[in-house]
């Protein structure tokens, strides 16, 4: 049984978060998002000419997204470069961003998104997606909405928000991890994966809990994006 969380949080409480934009001067847009001990940095380049030529779309733009874990991000050194897991996560993030960015507005163009994990403590794909959507907005891309993503899940019999690595590896009763990506103001889900075992009712509850967390993240994203312009007017 899992009655109290390892870090004494409430079951529907997020880890402390931090968000920042405009951190990479050479990129068109960039963002950093930290939640607990997980930190992601995203940079957006483009829109620009499509390379390689054959993936070009005539009536809309394309997003090419690369997710990579830096070698020092995990306790055991991660091999540099993309492995199977990185390729999968890149793909799910691309799919989610395709729904958020208005691709029809940039025909024949390509947007490059690079995401690096500097510290990993579970929920990296959600942190990446959040950072990537902030970086896209910072780059001035036309977007339908920002993406707020958070992992929820079931540990033992309790439904939890924002799992840590320790909780993901919980053995007594098993742990289920459900990363969810939302378009908060549209109430749409753009990313939903499930690793573990839950019933239909439990999944509904998990998504509900995740939505609550995502709204908090959304507020933080908005504040971080606006902060740069409000600060500037003060100085």
């Amino acid at each position: 049984m899992y009655e109290e969380r390892f870090d004494k949080r409430k079951f529907d409480e997020l880890r402390p978060m931090e968000a920042e934009t405009g951190i990479i001067p050479n990129a068109k847009g960039s963002a950093r998002f930290r939640i607990g001990n997980t930190e992601a940095i995203a940079a957006v380049y483009g829109p620009e000419e499509v390379k390689p030529r054959h993936i070009e779309k005539v009536n809309k733009g394309i997003i090419v997204c690369k997710y990579d874990m830096l070698p020092f991000s995990v306790p055991d050194r991660a091999k540099p470069g993309m492995d199977r897991r990185d390729i999968e996560i890149s793909q799910v993030i691309t799919n989610a961003l395709n729904k958020a960015v208005i691709l029809e507005d940039m025909p024949r163009a390509m947007v490059n998104v690079r995401i690096y994990i500097t510290q990993a403590d579970a929920g990296t794909r959600c942190a990446s997606l959040t950072a990537a959507s902030m970086a896209c907005a910072d780059a001035g891309l036309p977007m339908r909405d920002l993406v707020a993503a958070v992992a929820a899940g079931k540990i033992g019999d309790s439904i939890c928000l924002d799992l840590t690595k320790e909780e993901e590896d919980f053995h007594e009763g098993g742990a289920t991890d459900v990363p969810i990506g939302f378009l908060p103001s549209k109430n749409e889900i753009v990313l939903l994966q499930l690793d573990g075992k839950v019933t239909r009712e439990e999944l509904k509850k998990i998504v509900e809990v995740g939505k609550k967390g995502a709204m908090e993240i959304y507020e933080l994203e908005k504040a971080a994006l606006k902060r740069r312009f409000l600060n500037e007017s003060k100085s």
Binding site: P47, R108, A109, G140, P142, R144, S185, S235
Partner: protein
Amino acid sequence: MINAKNFDIVTPGELLSDERNGRNGTYEENEKVYSKFLGMVQLSDRGISVSPLAGNYYPKEGDDIVGEVTEVSAKYWVVDINAPFYTRLDVRDVNFRVEESELDRYIDIGDLVYARVFRVYPNNAADISMRGTRYGKLESKMITRIDPVKLPRLIGKEGAMINLIKEETKCDIVVGQNGIVWVDGEDKNRAAALSAIKFIDENYVDSDLAEKVRRLLEDVRGKI
């Protein structure tokens, strides 16, 4: 019901109104108007528009632009004009006689040109031309880049700001509408002009920017 005030800063996806009066920089879904960009709201009688606070240069016909030549071919130059796509400057569109296949004798890789956008394709690619006495190659290679959305602040009302910088620093400045700014003058003056442009780039939402720029330029001159 309009949800936003004038000069509000909004993020993409923020609800602006449900009156179907969205204009530039907004989109409509389920009869509601949302913001498309991270930008500033502008209300008018005709509706709501959002002007982005960051973004790319999309060429428009008739824009005067500064570009950097990146490639020379037998019949055209390839020019980087800060837009998503590279542009071509054809030999027939320059204001001097050219021997074909010796194009690099006139304009070489790395040279800067001042030209006009005369054709824009549906995918925002463009062709540029140098026909006309105003256009040509720019000698000396000092350029700086500024976000195209910030250009109105750099130029100011009827060119007030850019004239201020020109007078204070005694520099020749050419502002391309694509956000590339060419600066020519003595080394010290040029440095002062560049710092003023950088200051505007960083503080462009400020009020009474002209006064601050004047003070900055005096500061810089004091140090030299």
